[in-house]
Assembly symmetry: D2
Homo-oligomer: 427 residues x 4
């Protein structure tokens, strides 16, 4: 936990990890505008607080948590990291979220559409263009290396350095799973993250988990899916986010706030300023008025399709087809197409959607023989629950306003009846 | 926990109290703009998050916690409350904070100066003038009774109903002490609030605590002072708040946002919109720029004066004298008077300052004889720690910017040397 | 939470559930020797404390927890229970474990063999024969009804009353899963038991869970399996228990303590007296000497067989065949048959083994239509993880002492190679 | 947290401190009979579990906690400890309790009377005479140094090494305050022990606390007194312990188990064997029968005397005078002298009684000047609550059986009326 040779500034008290010791260099990097701005960007959403009133924690405290866990993992890996690498991992973990826009993932579809960028691209851009670049250099960090490591794209041969910050069992996920559970009160956890950390090793340059921690690893995957169901893709949370995404889209048509020319413009955007803007903007004002009274869209249909049916999956993750299905449902219900939204986990505004759909199988595990040799194994061969767990995210929902609930429910059942959708739930 | 005869809407999950069951009536009241607005007013400050990054919880979740605890206490009091009274206590507890301005107590001095009102006055005003009045009536509540009970001023003979919401051991304090500790990570608690609740009774129409819970009551007082020292009057938290208070004051000179003519104007003010405004306003912009980089005022002097010396106390709590002392210190240090701030716990921007200075002695306790009779006692006679505990809040500090720290430190020691101030700490 | 009309004695403070309110009648039943004796019978094992030093909680506090949860569930079921039924459920839950012998499940195989009884039979016997019978009668309970309800065998038509205490989602399991996690520190939980409780209902006289709580129900099943792997069937815990079971068996040959003629003889047996006896008894003394220095058997082989292969399953759960396999392994390794133990989860000394093997599929769930009608569903049809989860308990292990570890490992691999055992792990 | 150069065996999971990493040497020392025996000696009492059913944790897990905290403190002290010293502190902390008899402090008065020894003397004796001596030597420890450091009597010039294990803010107290609160559920804590640890330093060879942690230090003292009132000297806990102490005394008259000739005899004594013995022994059998049904002595009188009145204090702490007062009360009530017990906190069976009466004032604190120099200060001068807190332990109680409660209550009031005793509480 202690980096010898570094000058420590002091401790920051975190409700999750207790006292986090930081160096004077780190303190100066924390006290920059791009990092401090994360105090005004909520970790969950927003929308989660409409189901869990306690869910008001921010990306700032999460980033400190990542710095801490990144350091613990970096120092405990049996492969041995240099002091320089430990320093880098801590700072890269701290900065991994500085590119997020207001409302995080809810802002992302708009960002993608207008600029072709993801929040990871923005993270690299912010680190390079803001006051961060100068201070990183002053404190002895290489800007290029830090910015790419922060998003898991560093060109190092020691690719596990990237994976500490961005992979299927990275410190980012470890921190947010525990932190989200703590502040929401949603009891899908806890995961024994220190058991994971203390049993991790590096195998062929990749992070891997010792098979003795298999139950903990499975619990980690289960907790992620639990968090997905209880929080990130919760029916009501999504209702809020769909409305907010629309408000952002139409307000941007009027105000053009995504035409970002300087990093200052971008750093001015945060949850506070954006909500204020959406409330004032004529086009989005009505949506905000509803959100401020918790008048939300209603879910009229919810179904679960089988993952093995890749056709269905691709249909539903294809934006064009998804929109067409939505339009068919609207038409059949005698409604305007804007009044019906078909929601699946693969839209960019669902946090972690891509990782959920692709990652769980890829966690490398190894078995340590009595002679010390480590044999790589496939998680899917040693665990029988990983595969069925994938089914959890194949959800399709249809939203509309409360007045049209019944009509849309009926219409959605008819339109979607051809798809292999099971456990249909109508409201 | 269950109010028979009421129609329940469902549960809200709270990280502190678990599942909070609410009725359909309560749901409709919660889903109004004045209550939902509390989601955008932080419970602590702000400023607390500059010391405890996790301190981002809001008055919304705290208000739900008060509804819950108010109900539990109302139902467990041996004196017996009618179903109507239990309903009223829950709603009054829910609404007790709706009058808070942005940044809560930091806004209060400005509010006082411009309008002569406290946030309690505003709570009554908001309940009466906003959509709350109509919905309360529809749901069968008496608006006048609820609005006055919410601020502890109801004209009932059963004055303990007011005291459940506002007194030295009210559910407001019970909830925020536990909630603040949970989200900050500051370990001054926990207090065994259910032991307090289950041993409370009514004596001559007043709430009182059974002497068997004396250790718990003392722990409650100790926790309040612990919270005061660790959070509410923390040196760095105050530095932030003093700067923000100034930003509000000078921005208001330019923008006049406290000239509130309608409750809509007032409800538009929240942490989000006010921060955005302060950032744009020319006068306050520089302060916000510093705050967004955590460049804070520094404490140059801290002393503790004896409470028994009432002259000193009154001197320091008198605004005029306090300002004059600040000016003397500035002058002697060769600085402008604006550059030196003398801070004491009795300024209105310190949450709960008035209650801390006056209340601890007044908690009524009783001793239950074997024959069942309850004998009222004075807390100060049965507890030997209540009185000395008062000393904790007699703190005086002098702030200035980091450049002038040494000069002001020296000057403050000289100017304040005539006062009976002990344990002087210079920086 | 409050049973109107009952006289309350007061509260008992529990680290899990907080203040548990109990009536004067309940207090008198708690203060009998059969209930107080549970203070000297540990909840877990023993053996769990050899892996988790904190695992020293007892069946006494667990029994109070069951009384509490039993009461909460009884009062919240929408079907409506009479006051008499709520009283009965609480007392039956309190008494459900009074028949346990010393070291609980480790004692059970010996009890079965010598007397043909299970601990449930003993519970009924103790309630009927001890001072409990008289005091139950005095306090207005029907002894016959309580004793059979305590083991889930009450002849009531309202069979959900039995199921509150003994079924796949009973308050017994809810309490011990949370309590075991708390005291061990093993992080397989927590489960949101109050969400389960508040969404439970009665369908055709059976307890059933609302489909909206499906994720919570799955988490409950996952937590049980997590507890099984991390605690109940942990490799080291089992090593301890196998040795203790042997010590009990051979000491009984010398001392005959299971020839129980009176309930007083039986109630004299607890963890304290039995350990003292085993330490003194010549035959078992050496085993105790090893246990008191943590010299444990070593696991030489561990494999996982497929559940669908019912032949293998039945082979391994058949005691005769299991012993024969063990003897073959011993013989091939050139050892005495006593020196090799083949361990599977289905032996009676593994807590909850029978429930794990048979129950998970049987949890009834229902879907509530908008018109209020409840449609029964099969859990296996709505959940895709229930079935694969079964695989977790198909473990077979071979133990021997540390000197013969290698030999037995080799021999076990050879003998068991014909069985469809996967993920073989040799040491 | 990591001792470079040591070979680590692995982790032990503790519910309080999480994963405790231990070396192979430490593992071998932990796996000796004197250390493993602590699994059968409860941390609290016994008696505490009669008020807090969850209070079943043992001195074994507490000892591991002390090893852990001792290591953390040893590694974080700015004065710098050698690797050898860190090793020693950890092992000495682990072994500090190995000399405790069955029922810990309840056994102590008998031990004192029969052998003239305290449990600290026995700790040194056990370390020297048992298998510990050999294994310590093998693993490279100096037996003499470890045994004396374990009881805070090492002859080192670096006396802070002793103080880490035994002083007013030692790791022993830090661990048990938190652990006792966790397992009992008594909410007098938590204390922010890591803030204490991280702000501790060495001043003139003594451990001292930085003044910036004054609130934490005060909270630590307050928590100790809270624990004293809520647990260690709880009225009912003492009733149990007084009865048990008597049972031990009279059973020893019959059986002579304190005539200990070998360390094996002594190590055979633990909570398990002693309870079994007391139950069988003819003289103590009746007391055990009552304890096993929770028939306890009743407190007939409780008063609080002023500490400043040193005459009263000395009277009550003088065993002869205390007994004489008890006899007077008995005589006046017409009872046998055995039927009345006068209980004060200064009897040896109250855990930590001596430390409570003498220590709080002596905690050294220092103030660090801006130039780095540390100025020693007296805690009583900087804290105003330390002194009044002393009043908490000046309690005198009179116990008798439930039948004679009224008589003894009256008689005690009369006999003790001459003493300056306040807040008299009669039952």
């Amino acid at each position: 936990m202690i980096m010898s040779g570094e000058k420590y500034w002091g401790f920051i008290k975190d409700p999750i990890h207790g006292y986090i010791r930081i160096t004077s260099s780190e303190k100066r990097i924390i006290d920059t505008r791009p990092v401090q701005r994360l105090r005004r960007i909520r970790q969950l959403g927003p929308g989660a607080e409409y189901v869990y009133p306690g869910a008001n924690h921010t990306r700032f405290e999460h980033s400190l948590g990542c710095l801490y866990l990144g350091g613990v993992l970096a120092e405990s890996l049996p492969v041995g990291l240099s002091r320089k690498e430990v320093r880098e991992v801590r700072i890269a973990a701290l900065l991994h979220d500085v590119g997020h826009g207001p409302f995080s993932h809810v802002f992302e579809p708009l960002l993608n559409r207008c600029t072709g960028k993801t929040h990871e691209d923005m993270t690299e851009w912010v680190i390079e263009k803001s006051e961060l670049a100068e201070i990183l250099t002053t404190e002895g960090y290489e800007v290029d290396r830090i910015k790419s490591m922060a998003v898991g794209r560093s060109k190092t041969k020691r690719i596990f350095l990237n994976q500490i910050i961005r992979s299927t069992v990275d410190v980012d996920k470890m921190d947010f799973l525990i932190r989200d559970s703590y502040h929401t009160g949603a009891e899908y956890g806890p995961i024994d993250i220190f058991r994971l950390i203390y049993t991790m090793d590096v195998l062929n340059s990749n992070l891997a988990v010792d098979l003795t921690a298999l139950p903990t690893l499975e619990a980690f995957v289960i907790a992620r899916i639990g968090a997905f169901r209880a929080v990130y893709f919760h029916r009501t949370v999504r209702a809020f986010q769909i409305m907010l995404e629309k408000a952002l889209r139409i307000a941007n048509e009027e105000m053009g706030f995504v035409d970002i020319h300087s990093k200052d413009d971008y750093l001015d955007l945060d949850d506070y300023s954006m909500w204020t803007l959406l409330r004032k903007c004529e086009k989005s004002r009505d949506i905000v008025r509803d959100l401020e009274r918790r008048k939300l869209l209603k879910c009229s249909f919810e179904g679960c399709f089988f993952i093995k049916d890749s056709l269905t999956t691709s249909l539903l993750t294809n934006e064009t087809i998804r929109q067409r299905l939505g339009e068919q449902i609207a038409e059949r219900a005698g409604l305007d197409k804007e009044q019906v939204i078909l929601d699946v986990p693969s839209v960019p505004s669902v946090p972690y959607y891509h990782s959920l759909s692709t990652e769980p199988m890829e966690i490398p595990v190894f078995y340590k023989r009595r002679d010390g040799q480590r044999i790589p194994m496939k998680l899917s061969e040693v665990s029988r629950i990983i595969e069925p767990l994938q089914a959890f995210m194949n959800i399709v929902r249809v939203y509309t306003d409360s007045m049209n609930r019944e009509k849309v429910s009926k219409s959605a059942r008819e339109v979607l009846s051809d798809l292999p959708i099971s456990t249909e739930v109508s409201y």
